[in-house]
Amino acid sequence: MREPAQLINRYRWYEIVGIYCGIAVFLTFVLAPFVEGFLVSLKPLSQLFSSPYRFIPENGSFEAYRTMWESVPGFARYIFNSFFISTIVTTVVLCMVVPAAYAFARFEFKGRGTLLAAFLAVNMFSGAVLLIPLFRLMRTLGVLNTYFAMIVPGVAFLIPSAIWLLRTYMMRIPRELDEAAYVDGASHFYTLRRVILPIAMPGITVVAITTFIGSYAQQFIFALTFNAKSEYMPLPVGLFAYFGRQEVVWNELMAASFVGIAPAMIVIFFLQRYLVSGLTAGAVKQ
C-alpha cells in the first residue's frame, strides 16, 4: 500500500507533469544514444545508410555480436587489458587513499591544508595537458609500452579526487568513535581497520566505483601516447580497429562497445551492494 505523501512532498498535478517532463527531457538526452547504438548494433550494415533512415531495424539480428570477434581477433584481449588496468589502478588507489583520507580527516599536521589545496589544483589540469612531460618522463625511465606506463599515471591522476571524496565521508564519522577506541587501547591502525573501515564502506565503494570508471575513461589518452604495442591496448583504443580503411563497421563497433563495457557494469553492479546508507545508525545520539 502506498503511504499518503507527507504535506511537504505533496504536489499539484501540473507540478507533477512539469517534473516528469523535465526528467523526460534529460533522460532522452542521456539514454537516446544508448538506444540508438543498440539498435544500430542489431542492423545489417547495408541498412545503416538506407534512406529514409529507419530507427527500428528490419530483420534485425545479433549477427554483429558474432562477427565482431572475427573482424578484430584481438578484441577479447583489449577487454581484458582495460579490465586489468582499471582493476589494478582501483586497487592501488584504494590502498593508498584509505589511510591517506583517514589521516587528512583526523590528524592535524603541518601542511595539511596546503596539500589538500594542491590536490585540487592538480585536478584542474587534466592528464592531457601534461602528456608531453609525462611522455618524456616515461621514456627516460624506459617504461614506455608496458602496462606500467598506463597504470602509474592513471593512479596518480585519480588519487587527489579520491582523497577528497573519502576524506569528506570520513569526517562525517563521529570523532568520539576514534577516541573511544583510543581510550580502550587501540592503535591508529587497529582503529582504522576495525572501526573506521567498516563504517566507511559506502564511501569507499563510491570511491572504488568512480576510480574504476575514471580509469576506464582515461586509459584512451594514456594508451595512445605511452603505448604502441597492440597486445597491451585497452578497449577504447581497440575499438579503433573497427574503423577500417574505407568504411567504419558501425554495427560491429556498437556491438563491441556494449560488450566492452559489460565487465565494468558487472563490477559496479556487485560493488553497489555496499552502498547502503545509514550504517552509522546508533553510533552516537542523533
Partner: protein
C-alpha cells in the same frame, strides 16, 4: 586502587585559559561529580584525566604516579562518552568485547567477561543486536558495559545521561549509584545537572569559568555555599538575593538592615563591615507566609501550582527576582500582595566580592536525619 590527584592543572586553547590552576584530590572508591554551567571546562578537565587532551601545565597523578605522558589504557581509566560512541557495525557483544579484543585475550575469557557484564547491565538478551536497534537507555548501558569490562581503576563519565528523557534519567541515576556500590571503583562524573550531582555524588566539585568554585559534600554545598555562584547554582528554584546594608557586627553575627528592618544573622563577622552593602541570600523553600525575623512583602506575577508545593515568582523593588516555594496549595494569588517571612538562621550572607560569611551552623545538624541515617 584508584586514587587521583590533580596538581595545578592549567589548559590554554591559544590565549584562552580554559582551566585555571585546578587542584583536587580524589580518594579511592569515591564518587566525585564535576558540575558547572555549559562551557566552564568540565569536559576539558575530564578529557585531560582520560589522556585525550594534554595539560598545558600541571601534573595528573593516579595512585601517586605521574601519568601526564601515558596513554589512556596505561592510566587505568575507562571513559563513557556523552554521545555513547558505540561502534554501529558491531553487535552489542562485540562492542563490549572491544577493549578485550584489543588486549588479545583468549576467546573463552572474553565470552565469560562480556556475559558477566551483560548480566549486570541487563543486556543479556540484546547481545546479538546492533546498537541501531536499541533504545537510548540500552545504548548508554552498552557504553557503560564497554567501560566496566576492562575493570579500570577510575571510571570517567561525561554527561552520560543528558541524551535520555527525564524518566529514564532518573532510573539510570539509581542504576549508576548501585553500580558504584557494587564495583567500589573511583568514579568521576561530569554533568551540568545539579540533580544528578546532588543525588549521586560523595563529593561535588563546582566549576565556574575554569575555576573550582567549591568542593564539598552535596548537603554541605547546599547549606554552606562559599560564594554567590555556588549559592545560585545549587538548589532549585535558585536562591533569592537581596541587597542589604551592614549596620553592626558582634560576636553573635552581622546585623544588616533591609527596607527599614534590622536583623542579626548568625554568621562569622569580619572587621570594617559597617556601612558596606552586602548580599543576603535566602532559599525559596525557606520562606514562609506571614512575618519572620525579616518580613518581605511582594506581589507575585506568576504562580505555579505543582500540587506538592506552590512556586510564586515576584520581583523586589530593587529589581531582583524573588521566588517563594511554599508547601501544598498556598493561599497566594497573582497580583495580590504576599507577605513572606525569613528566619535569620536560614540566611546566607555574601560580601561585595561574592564571598560568603561562614554561617554559624553545623550543616550536619541541619540535616540530622540524612546524616544519622547514613
Amino acid at each position: 586502587m584508584g586514587q587521583l590527584k590533580l596538581d595545578k592543572i592549567q589548559k590554554f586553547y591559544g590565549d584562552f585559559e580554559v582551566l585555571k590552576s585546578i587542584g583536587l584530590e580524589v580518594k579511592n572508591g569515591e564518587f566525585v561529580v564535576f558540575v558547572g554551567p555549559s562551557g566552564c571546562g568540565k569536559s576539558t578537565l575530564l578529557r585531560m584525566i582520560a589522556g585525550l587532551d594534554s595539560t598545558s601545565t600541571g601534573d595528573i597523578l593516579i595512585d601517586g604516579v605521574r601519568v601526564n605522558d601515558k596513554p589512556p589504557v596505561q592510566r587505568g581509566i575507562a571513559m563513557v562518552f556523552q554521545s555513547y560512541a558505540l561502534y554501529p557495525h558491531m553487535t552489542v557483544f562485540e562492542n563490549i568485547a572491544f577493549p578485550l579484543r584489543v588486549e588479545r585475550l583468549p576467546e573463552e575469557t572474553i565470552r565469560e567477561k562480556v556475559e558477566a557484564v551483560a548480566k549486570i547491565l541487563q543486556l543479556d538478551k540484546r547481545l546479538h543486536q546492533k546498537p541501531g536497534m536499541l533504545s537510548g537507555g540500552q545504548r548508554q548501558r552498552v557504553a557503560i558495559g564497554r567501560a566496566i569490562v576492562r575493570e579500570p581503576k577510575i571510571f570517567l563519565f561525561d554527561e552520560p545521561l543528558s541524551n535520555l528523557d527525564a524518566a529514564l534519567r532518573a532510573d539510570m541515576r539509581i542504576e549508576l549509584s548501585k553500580l558504584h556500590q557494587d564495583l567500589k571503583a573511583t568514579m568521576i562524573y561530569v554533568t551540568h545537572d545539579q540533580v544528578e550531582a546532588m543525588t549521586m555524588a560523595d563529593r561535588i566539585v563546582v566549576l565556574n569559568a575554569g575555576e573550582i568554585a567549591q568542593v564539598g559534600a552535596p548537603l554541605e554545598l547546599y547549606h554552606k555555599p562559599q560564594n554567590l555562584f555556588v549559592a545560585g547554582f545549587i538548589g532549585n528554584p535558585k536562591m533569592n538575593f537581596m541587597p542589604v546594608t551592614c549596620t553592626a557586627t558582634d560576636e553573635h553575627g552581622v546585623t544588616v538592615s533591609y527596607a527599614g528592618q534590622s536583623v542579626t544573622l548568625p554568621v562569622a563577622a569580619r572587621p570594617d563591615l559597617v556601612g558596606q552593602t552586602l548580599t543576603l541570600g535566602i532559599r525559596p523553600e525557606h520562606l514562609s507566609l506571614g512575618s519572620g525575623d525579616l518580613t518581605v512583602t511582594v506581589t507575585p506575577s506568576v504562580i505555579e501550582r505543582l500540587g506538592v508545593n506552590t512556586v510564586a515568582y515576584a520581583a523586589l523593588p530593587s529589581g531582583e527576582n524573588y521566588c517563594a516555594l511554599l508547601p501544598g496549595s498556598a493561599p497566594v494569588r497573582v497580583g495580590a500582595p504576599m507577605q513572606t517571612g525569613i528566619r535569620a538562621t536560614d540566611c546566607h550572607l555574601f560580601d561585595g566580592k561574592g564571598q560568603a560569611f561562614e554561617r554559624r551552623v553545623d550543616w550536619q545538624t541541619l540535616d540530622r536525619p540524612a546524616v544519622t541515617a547514613a
